[in-house]
Symmetry: C2
């Protein structure tokens, strides 16, 4: 709407620029042999707790690390660091999503060959991160049971590109009167290629299965 | 980061253009004597259920209507229409927020003098809507108990401009182990001017208080 053609043109250029850097990152990740997973979701759907648990479960067997984006505060990096994994925070200011250039900047000269898995936790936003390739191998979208079953239909772009759809806070499913079958139908309609998993980072239920799924996809699993 | 100066310049112009239309809308609302409240929050924090309940509670005494924004689907307009109030849906496509021009377009030649309250439900997004004035008299930000107490600190711009901070899904507070005092501290730090209310649209608890607060702020209350 507002100033549409101009905004669209600039946006196209920004995305083009982003894609160039994302390709560069993807090649760097491939050469280093690190498998990169990004996490996207609404604010408050439990990305950080989920990621902290994921890092802890992977750490005994794999070398893992994380980048985490937020508008403000370094709280999430501090929380994730409790897992023992190396973590770097990206503070975006007013920017509502991560971009490939922010990833490149945060990585600096980090020796990625020392890692098996790198996780990138995006800013909590179910819209804008959908457009920005970060060079990742796979994208996990989280949907907590308290958000409602209709979210895939209302925010299709971000669900559309997901490799994994993780239904989080499953311990609250009953209290939230969450209809999993309805959610699954909506997820299948919008992201037919995504594996749907139910998890509770709080009770741990479903987390081992997620880690198994991840381990099947890591580079070392591929050869 | 990416293409920052150029993006910033275009963004500045878009916001300037938005402000002009928002001022025009504000004047139109004032002349019509309608009190306009916008609602912002994460996806899934319960805006639509909350608004449906609000419309139902106000309807016996006031003339109310709503505009509702979503990337896709007209589901929310259909849900809100159950209250009996006139409702118009704005489908934004890939745009992550409402802009004043979208409001003007959706209103068309609607005779606003026939209304006491108009509600505008924004796209679920805790970042981008913060920058766009819609000509409203007041902005309510919703934070559901399942999202965590830290959200005001992590998404300060949208909380900063709020007139009311509504802690929603309060019926789930115990199950979600929500620490209300911590949330209140964070809200007070980021939006010291906002009235903090706890509500459950499901049980109805706190809704009458919210409607009383609103009635004190409507134009007819002012004179």
């Amino acid at each position: 709407m507002t100033a549409s053609p101009r905004i669209l043109e600039v946006r196209r250029n920004v995305l083009k620029h982003n894609d160039v850097i994302a390709r560069e990152l993807r090649e760097r990740f491939r050469q280093a042999g690190v498998f990169v997973v990004s996490l996207v979701s609404s604010p408050g759907s439990g990305k950080t707790t989920f990621l902290e648990k994921t890092l802890s479960l992977l750490r005994p067997r794999y070398r893992v690390a994380a980048l985490v984006g937020d508008l403000a505060t370094e709280n999430d990096a501090a929380r994730l660091a409790r897992s023992g994994a190396p973590v770097r925070q990206i503070v975006t200011g007013t920017v509502c999503h991560l971009e490939a250039e922010m990833i490149r900047g945060a990585l600096g000269d980090w020796d990625l060959a020392q890692l098996d898995y790198l996780f990138i936790e995006n800013v909590g936003n179910l819209v804008c991160p959908a457009s920005y390739d970060l060079g990742e191998d796979g994208r996990a979208v989280l949907l907590s049971v308290t958000e409602g079953e209709d979210k895939p239909l209302k925010y299709p772009p971000i669900f559309h590109g997901a490799d994994w759809a993780l239904v989080t806070k499953f311990d609250l499913a009953e209290a939230a009167e969450f209809d999993f079958e309805a959610a699954r139908r909506n997820l299948t309609a919008v992201c037919p290629g995504a594996a749907v998993l139910t998890v509770s980072a709080k009770t741990g239920k479903g987390m081992e299965e997620w880690v198994r799924v991840l381990a099947q996809r890591g580079r070392f699993a591929e050869g």
